[in-house]
């Protein structure tokens, strides 16, 4: 490193490592202190290029701080405080540590200046976040976690392959749009894109998101909904702005999430489908690539982290207090959890882009960018998706949990009450920011990467406010007319995870049945064709050994014994006599030799 530069992620990683050593009496203070330190560090960082480290022949850049990375860093730091406050009462250190390492990974990826650093933090994110699913400790959570990991490892490999191939082609690890030829994408660039859009949950790579986020712990989902997809949005804005294919993909995403949200019975899975829908706006904006669109993507990611966190906190509170998250098991909770209702409603109005709420000042930038680029279909379809957003998150979620005709079981109703103070405080902070951003636009707009464009944009025009009000109010009218049609059904919807869930089972069946049968067949074949002849040969060999070889050996032995026995009779134990006999025989032989040799 040239000069000492404290990487913000290090605060979280060190904080997570030291967490088990902190005495219980000061633990809550410590849990708040670390995210606050992180946020202060993020705010105090000047812009520039920091944290250069030489690794092999390359120079890694850990700290590229510019306007684009700063806006994401800011909101992620803030969300880390809110998320930790929300789960402050959770006793298990490992849960906090996993969340912090996950946020650390995300922030590391945001500030990464090269692909190697990006990949390092990218994988750190995947491997730490899976624990937020596993810590719910249901058998389903375990399987969902493994599926999450499987998909993310596949995405990570696509990114790795893409970045290595791109390095071979360009000779640079730099993580920026210049190093990735977006106008004429090579297969390497497409692989990098697959790695990014898998994390952004773009169909067909999206099914991991509702699967995992619906199954995570009540506070784990609050972290999950904020970081993975938004880091991917940042990566798209940074590396692949203006990549044409992202526009249709983003629009498909925005509508796909809406369609599945209609069918969903689990409130947190519904919210998860709306993450897909909302990230669709950002992906489409990255694809449009204009200054207005990139500003829109950043602003919407910023607003989204807050309102989606708030919505997950609201539904997470219901889950935490009642143990239920399904609409068919909930209803009429307004008497027991009125403030949770109000906070969730604020989240719902923000995501629906109601005037004076955060989504209004961010989402409209993207739609405007679509119309400005003369991509009318983009503008209209994104408007349609926003109808669906209000329908579900603004109306369906609050209505069927807090009102509606459904009555939960008595035990569920008895358990229902406002959550602990820290959860309420976290929701209040997020709700405050949702309204503050919507009312005081300079707060968000001053953080955006293209300042000139941001300052020019005015969301509160008469036309725009009227347009939004009309769309949303008539969506509400339609909702109340067809509310019976929207009654939740105790069913699940098959999504594209069907392929790997059933595929995995097909593989297990394949291993259990045909492969095992083939193995048994080969074993039998080996026994019949190999083992049986081998046994016969061995038996013959043993017969030969017994009868022939042993016979010969025994014969020789008995012959030797016979000769020995006879010789023994000739032995009279007289040494001198024997010596005389030997010497005489020798003398006779020598004489005979000499006589015949000289003849």
């Amino acid at each position: 490193m040239n000069n000492f530069w404290l990487h913000p992620s290090l605060i979280l990683l060190a904080g997570a490592l030291l967490l088990p050593l902190v005495p219980a009496a000061v633990k809550k203070g410590y849990l708040l202190l670390i995210p606050v330190l992180l946020f202060v560090r993020i705010l105090s960082m000047g812009q520039g290029d920091f944290g250069h480290v030489n690794f092999l022949d390359w120079e890694l850049r850990f700290g590229r701080v510019d306007q684009l990375s700063s806006v994401f860093g800011f909101i992620m730091g803030l969300m880390c405080i809110i998320g930790t406050l929300y789960g402050l009462h959770v006793k298990e250190d490992a849960q906090h540590a996993a969340s912090w390492v996950y946020v650390g990974g995300s922030i590391g990826a945001i500030y990464a200046g090269d692909f190697i650093t990006l990949f390092l933090f990218w994988e750190l994110m995947a491997f730490s976040s899976v624990f937020l699913v596993w810590f719910r400790r249901r058998p389903q959570s375990l399987s969902a976690g493994y599926r999450y990991l499987l998909v993310h490892v596949a995405g990570g490999l696509a990114l790795l392959a893409g970045m290595v191939l791109n390095f071979k082609a360009t000779g640079s690890w730099a993580f920026d749009a210049k190093n990735l030829a977006v106008a004429h994408p090579t297969p390497a660039v497409y692989l990098v894109m697959v790695g990014f859009i898998l994390n952004a949950a773009v169909p067909p790579f999206h099914a991991w998101l509702p699967d995992a986020y619906g199954e995570a712990t009540f506070n784990g989902s609050v972290f999950l909904c904020a970081f993975t997809t938004k880091t991917a949005v940042y990566a798209l804005c940074r590396g692949l702005p203006g990549m044409e294919i992202l526009v249709p993909l983003g629009v498909i995403m925005a509508l796909y999430g809406v369609v599945y949200a209609v069918l969903e019975n689990d409130s947190r899975r519904l919210l998860a489908y709306h993450i897909i829908s909302q990230v669709g706006y950002m992906v489409a904006a990255a694809g449009l690539g204009t200054q207005m669109a990139i500003n829109g993507a950043c602003a919407h990611a910023f607003a989204h982290i807050l309102y989606k966190g708030l919505l997950f906190m609201g539904c997470g509170s219901v889950l935490y207090m009642t143990g239920e998250s399904k609409f068919t098991e909930l209803g009429g909770l307004w008497r027991k959890m009125p403030w949770t209702f109000v906070f969730t409603l604020i989240g719902g109005l923000s995501i629906s882009a109601f005037p004076l709420f955060s989504g209004f000042v961010s989402k409209s930038m993207i739609v405007t960018a679509g119309f400005e680029e003369r991509k009318y279909w983009v503008g209209f379809l994104l408007m349609l998706a926003s109808v669906g957003t209000f329908l579900h998150t603004g109306l369906k979620v609050p209505y069927f949990i807090w009102f509606g005709k459904n009555r939960p079981k008595k035990a569920t109703e008895d358990r229902a009450a406002e959550p602990p103070w820290n959860m309420m405080a976290a929701m209040a902070v997020a709700a405050f920011f949702c309204i503050f951003i919507g009312c005081y636009t300079p707060f968000l707009y001053k953080l955006l990467p293209y300042q000139e464009e941001a300052q020019k944009y005015l969301p509160y025009t008469g036309y725009h406010v009227t347009e939004t009000l009309l769309i949303l109010l008539f969506t509400a009218v339609c909702f109340f007319i067809f509310v019976k049609k929207l009654e939740p059904e105790a069913k699940i919807s098959l999504d594209l995870d069907w392929f790997y869930r059933k595929g995995g089972r097909a593989f297990a069946w394949l291993a259990r049945k045909p492969i095992q049968a083939a193995d048994a067949f080969v074993g039998e074949l080996y026994r019949v064709a190999g083992l049986v002849p081998l046994m016969i040969t061995a038996r013959l060999a043993s017969l030969f050994d017994n009868e022939v070889i042993d016979g010969a050996v025994d014969g020789v032995a008995s012959a030797v014994r016979g000769v020995g026995r006879r010789l023994r009779l000739a032995q009279r134990a007289q040494v001198q006599e024997s010596l005389t006999f030997v010497f005489v025989t020798a003398a006779v032989l020598i004489v005979l030799f000499v006589f015949f040799a000289h003849k």
Partner: protein, 98 residues
């Protein structure tokens, strides 16, 4: 628990609340028809060829049409999604269980 009392108060006067909401809706519609000015000139708004460009130009002039867009869009989303779901996508909850 003032909040509960407030919700209770409104629920007991549901008809009045509905009347007020309808009046609000009507006011927004009137506002849209008579007072809202288009942001762009028709030529600029509908620049380019095609049905959507024309639709954009028309809706720029008549912002009240966004109400129709919202209502029909919402109905389309509800009915199309439900039809999609009932075509075999929605299934029993223990579908994936062993």
């Amino acid at each position: 628990m003032n909040l509960v009392k407030l919700i209770e108060f409104l629920r007991h006067r549901l008809k009045t609340v509905l009347w007020i909401c309808s009046a609000g809706l009507g006011a927004v519609l009137l506002w849209a028809v008579f007072f809202v000015k288009p942001e762009q000139a028709p030529a600029e708004a509908g620049e380019g060829q095609g049905f959507l460009a024309q639709a954009r130009a028309v809706i720029e002039q008549w912002p009240v049409l966004w109400a129709v867009f919202g209502f029909i869009g919402c109905a389309v989303i509800i009915f199309a999604s439900k039809a999609f779901g009932h075509a075999g996508i929605m299934t029993r909850e223990d579908y994936y269980d062993e």
